[in-house]
């Protein structure tokens, strides 16, 4: 049996009320009042699609043997690199084995479903036994436009495999059309769209039924038996239900008023949300839309009741902080450039040769643990740092990224440059041993408390504009709940 074996999600901590966008820009675009409802998830200053995808992946594979993963498919339209495989960066950050087939799936909003179909094809062909799909997007709408309200940032992940399958893959159906409802030319920062009425009448209302009915016919699915349908569009699609014999409660909520339209990630995020509530036997349909459509059919198995609780949509939605400043959103998202001062302008010390040599330490936060005295240590050592041991070449790799810890001490620095002053950093005593110097993020100084539980989160540490390099590693954040 081939299908889903695990899932996870990642939604940024910051949420921007759409009313705050309207208050700032409504003078220019009063027509956006009608869509200025609810909130959207927005990246922190140290987040992008790649960092979010890695965190979703880490939540997905938590507690599982990563050594069995043979493929990684990363879906997004907003990846940091056009040339330098982003999926390989993600594979390194997740400490997957080097014998992994990694690919970026991009270029359209159905990239999330296309990545899932690609992963399932690889499994069906016997090329691998497990494949991880990551999907993330962080798109920008121009200030004053509707997309600025609609677009949100998020990531989701699904692990496919052949053992302990929680939702069996029943088949897929794909359509490819050059239906250019949304577009962003190479090098452009903001999305553009064609007329909404044309998108609705000529695109959504024709292509979606063709795809869904095509899948149902091809795989002999009675639409009336569908338990949940995840249509990756930022709107209430239940109006389509009558044509397909689907009642409104069978439409998975698209989270438009809590997350926003997270692009290529939306289909995978909605699937993760559906899996959180799925019962054995439930039929789940996932529909990706954009330059055509993909449809995937799954059926939950008894195994879904045995999967340990993991951080997915509900827990991520609960972990939130209101970003009250529209100006902060514009700076964090890179829409607006600010004076960073001499410290912010100082060249970042990018050395890709060092990154290559120390990639497991920098990207995956893998240190060493002494086999003799079991002392974890970071950075990796050949000689045990424990003065009572000092064993030589008795080390084994030891991951810190998947461990939790407690805050030992910290400081808040108003002088060091950060897009969100003050810079907070300190010492973390890791569960199981080891004390790490960490930068902190997703926290305010007033909430920093000695002994508070913390965990690690993959973040963009700097952007070296001079060399075109985004540097990544792990930071500490307050520990969140595994599941809600």
């Amino acid at each position: 049996m081939i299908g889903i074996t695990s899932y996870g999600a990642y939604i940024p901590w910051n949420r921007l009320q759409r009313q705050s966008i309207f208050q700032a820009m409504g003078w220019y675009s009063p027509f956006t009042y009608g869509i200025a409802k609810g909130e959207k998830a927005v990246s922190n200053h140290d987040e992008d699609s790649l960092s979010m995808a890695v965190n979703a992946g880490a939540n997905c594979v938590s507690g599982l043997d990563r050594g069995k993963i043979g493929g990684l498919f990363l879906a997004s339209t907003t990846l940091p690199y056009d040339e330098r495989m982003n999926a390989s960066i993600a594979a390194t950050a997740l400490d997957l084995k080097s014998q992994v087939s990694a690919a970026d799936i991009t270029g359209g909003l159905k990239a999330g479903t296309t990545a899932m179909i690609s992963a399932l094809d690889a499994l069906q062909a016997g090329r691998m036994n497990q494949a991880l799909v990551l999907a993330a997007d962080s798109r920008l709408g121009k200030p004053g436009g509707a997309y600025e309200h609609m677009f949100g940032d998020a990531a989701a992940a699904v692990l496919f495999g052949t053992e302990n399958v929680i939702a069996e893959f029943k088949g897929s159906f794909s359509l490819s059309y050059d239906f250019a409802d949304q577009r962003r030319a190479s090098g452009e920062k903001f999305n553009r769209n064609w007329e909404e009425r044309w998108i609705r009448d000529a695109g959504i209302s024709k292509i979606l039924p063709e795809a869904i009915m095509g899948a149902a016919t091809k795989h002999g699915v009675n639409p009336a038996n569908i338990s949940k349908i995840c249509i990756a569009l930022p709107a209430d699609m239940s109006g389509m239900g009558k044509k397909m014999m689907l009642t409104p409660e069978k439409f998975q909520e698209s989270m438009v008023n809590t997350v926003g339209d997270c692009g290529a990630a939306l289909s995978v995020l909605m699937l993760a949300a559906a899996l959180e509530d799925a019962k054995p036997g439930d039929q789940i349909v996932v529909v990706g839309f954009g330059s055509g459509a993909d449809v995937l059919l799954f059926q939950a198995t008894e195994e879904i009741t045995k999967l340990p609780a993991r951080r997915a949509v509900k827990a991520c939605l609960a972990n939130r902080k209101e970003l009250t400043s529209y100006e902060k959103y514009k700076v964090f998202s890179g829409i607006e450039d600010i004076e960073t001062g001499i410290r912010g302008e100082a060249p970042a010390a990018s050395a890709l040769s060092v990154l290559w040599k120390d990639r497991r330490a920098i990207m995956a936060y893998v240190g060493t643990r002494c086999k003799e005295c079991k002392t974890p240590q970071f950075p990796p050592q050949r000689i045990c740092a424990n003065p009572a041991c000092n064993a030589k070449d008795k080390m084994e790799p030891y991951s810190f990224a998947d461990k939790k810890g407690k805050l030992f001490t910290f400081t808040a620095d108003m002088l060091a440059f950060t897009f969100d002053p003050p810079a907070i950093y300190g010492l973390v005593d890791m569960d199981g041993g080891g004390r790490l110097w960490m930068d902190f993020t997703d926290v305010e100084v007033k909430d920093m408390k000695v002994n508070m539980p913390v965990e690690l989160s993959f973040r963009r540490k700097y952007v070296d504009k001079g060399r075109g390099i985004s540097g990544y590693s792990w930071k500490a954040v307050p520990a969140g709940k595994e599941a809600n």
């Binding site: 050592q381 050949r382 000689i383 740092a385 000092n390 400081t411 620095d413």
Partner: protein
């Protein structure tokens, strides 16, 4: 430590092992001094811990190795304030530095090696 000419022997004043030296940005402690035997002589190396925790622009810490030089005369005398000193020659030859690094890499826990 005195002496500017790398080719010339210089006077190395031994550190007080275990005593903390503070500065504006942090502090360090010399934990021990060791002799490392090589084909080109015995090198005197100080091992210690450094912590940067009162800096204006960051923080950090490490165990370091400070290669003072090749011993010409160990415990050659004492300074006016009673501190022992030795006569050393700095290690400037890169192949010799590599050799010493290789020995330290497999014998002592450290994050950085510096040559005086």
């Amino acid at each position: 430590m005195n002496g500017e000419n790398a080719a010339m022997p210089y006077i190395y004043i031994h550190s007080d092992e275990g005593s903390e030296t503070t500065s504006i940005a942090g502090r360090y402690v010399i934990e021990k001094e060791s002799e490392i035997q090589t084909e080109f002589g015995a090198a005197l190396v100080a091992f210690g811990f450094a912590v940067v925790d009162t800096s204006c622009c960051g923080s950090g810490g490490c165990r370091f190795a400070q290669v003072a030089g090749i011993i010409v005369e160990r415990n050659a005398g004492t300074t006016e304030d009673g501190k022992p000193y030795s006569i050393l020659e700095r290690v400037r030859d890169e192949s010799q530095q590599r050799r010493i690094r290789n020995i330290i890499d497999v014998s002592e826990c450290h994050c950085q090696i510096n040559f005086l």
